[in-house]
């Protein structure tokens, strides 16, 4: 058997078993009208739910699932990019200059453990519109892990690299570009992956509570308006799948030659 096959066969088998189990557990009650509203949907009903969410309704430009996904992904990307833009340089500075670290780290560490959800009321009061509101929430939930990772990455650069560079007369901007930045990239990237994951979790919560569109809102609407668990489950599966996709996007960078060295080979 080719190794490619080996890689997919186990997860596919596990998924098949779980879906079968899910079916067995749910289909017995499928014809019970009395509990029809509150019972858990069967796998097939969820497939139909997907079909429902992927059908364009009159008066709308795109199917609900597509437009909600686009809205959520856009918000996460916007907030995350802003956080990178500010967090990476800030973290690098903190990692390099002990004084900056001493001055800023207590603040970063104080804000970092605050659940992003706790920021929601502030976001609601500060921003009237959905987009700035959710972008702000993603920003505050991703900037601290990014900054912390970048600072730690610089602090963990082995001394021999810095000494070696100094030995060859490399300093200033050239030292930063040729040694400090590349030496910290793998750890920064790990921080980015983590932060993007957090951002994706937060956007759903934020949309459920404070925003009028997106995947989180779709779940909330399915609960409030239609009470349809099949739509909720279909949306949740979509959220998981997009999460994998976002992670894979960042992971692709791990294979660049200038970064790959930072990841120990496994298996």
């Amino acid at each position: 058997m080719s190794s490619r096959w080996k890689k997919v066969i186990a997860p596919v088998a596990v998924a098949a078993v779980l879906v079968a189990l899910w079916h067995l557990l749910t289909y017995g009650a499928a014809n019970e009208p009395a509990i029809a509203k509150t019972r858990f949907p069967t796998p097939w009903e969820v497939v139909l739910g997907f079909k429902h969410l992927l059908t364009t309704r009159p008066g709308e430009k795109a199917p609900q699932l597509v437009s909600s996904t686009v809205a959520s992904v856009f918000r996460v990307m916007a907030g995350f990019n802003l956080a990178m833009l500010l967090g990476i340089p800030l973290g690098l500075l903190m990692g390099w200059y002990a004084g900056t670290y001493r001055a800023l780290n207590p603040l970063v560490q104080l804000l970092r453990p605050i659940s992003p959800i706790a920021w929601i009321p502030i976001a609601i009061l500060m921003f009237k519109n959905d987009e700035p509101r959710s972008i702000f929430l993603i920003f505050v939930s991703t900037i601290f892990p990014i900054t912390t990772a970048a600072a730690a990455a610089v602090q963990n650069i082995p001394q021999v690299y810095i000494r070696s560079a100094a030995n060859f007369g490399c300093d200033g901007w050239s030292l930063f570009k040729k040694v400090v930045l590349p030496a910290s990239l793998p750890q920064i990237l790990t921080g980015l992956r983590l932060a993007l994951g957090v951002g994706w979790i937060v956007i759903v919560a934020a949309e459920m509570i404070a925003v009028r569109s997106g995947l989180g809102r779709l779940i909330q609407d399915a609960r409030d308006a239609t009470g349809r668990l099949d739509l909720i489950v279909a949306t949740m599966i979509t959220i998981g799948a997009i999460g994998i996709g976002l992670d894979a996007l960042v992971r692709r960078l791990e294979n660049v030659d200038q970064i790959k060295w930072g990841y120990a080979k496994r298996g």
Binding site: S164, C170, A183
Partner: protein, 246 residues
């Protein structure tokens, strides 16, 4: 070096005196080995010579000029390789050549890649190389800037004994051809006997120079089976206070 001294002190911990007055003169083009027990302060001394560590007492001067900081005229080769894993072999070796023209860089990098036998690996990254190849990159990177002095801190320490033997004889050839002054730290008695014109034997911490053994009578390439070699080696074993029987 005159009375070179070093004490590490951290708040809340007793100060560690590592070097207590080291006096040593090294001539141009000389190959000197520093031999001493683990933890005695050899690396510290070499780091001070290279300008990586401050000097707490005494002086270290090169051509009459006190060492103030790192300088490309004196290049350090580290035990843990210290070649940059994010750069190809080629970029590593050309790292110190930033001020030169492209043509010059190319010519020099080419020359040293050939010198250490890494043709065909120019585009490879360090993770694709064996330990011995990595250290050859480290040596080539150091030589490429044409330094007067090479400081080598157990550069072959992490390698297997065959590779080590091989690299030592390559190093001797390079040293004789390129006429460098080499200060070579090791705790391996055989290594010191094979390489040094003089071997500086250091005491346990705080390090002093116990004695200096002159091996300039042993011609290169050294025959490790010859009676003179064995005699010299046994002399070092004795100075280090270890038995020649296991």
């Amino acid at each position: 070096m005159r009375g070179a001294q070093k004490t590490f002190s951290e708040p809340g911990k007793p100060a560690i005196e590592v070097l207590s007055g080291v006096d040593l003169d090294v001539a141009e083009h000389e190959f000197v080995c520093l031999l001493g027990p683990s933890g005695c302060g050899k690396s510290t001394l070499l780091n001070m010579c290279a300008g990586f560590e401050s000097i707490d007492g005494g002086t270290i001067a090169i051509d009459g000029e006190p060492v103030m900081g790192p300088d490309p005229r004196r290049v350090f080769v580290f035990q843990e390789y210290a070649i940059f894993p994010w750069m190809s072999v080629w970029d590593n070796i050309a790292f110190g050549l930033q001020g030169r023209s492209d043509a010059q860089r190319h010519e020099i990098a080419r020359h040293y890649i050939e010198l250490v036998g890494l043709e065909g690996f120019e585009r490879a990254y360090p993770r694709e190389l064996s330990g011995g190849m990595k250290q050859r990159v480290g040596v080539a990177r150091a030589l490429a800037v044409n330094p007067d002095i090479l400081y080598m801190d157990e550069p072959f320490g992490a390698l297997d004994s065959l590779t080590r033997l091989n690299l030592r004889s390559q190093l001797i050839q390079i040293w004789r051809r390129e006429k460098k002054t080499i200060l070579f730290v090791t705790h391996d008695i055989d290594e010191a006997t094979q390489l040094g014109q003089r071997v500086v034997v250091m005491s346990a911490r705080p390090a002093r120079i116990k004695t200096i053994v002159d091996l300039s009578g042993l011609a290169y390439p050294r025959d490790i089976d010859s009676a003179e070699y064995i005699q010299a080696r046994d002399r070092l074993f004795e100075e280090m206070g270890v038995s020649t029987r296991v």
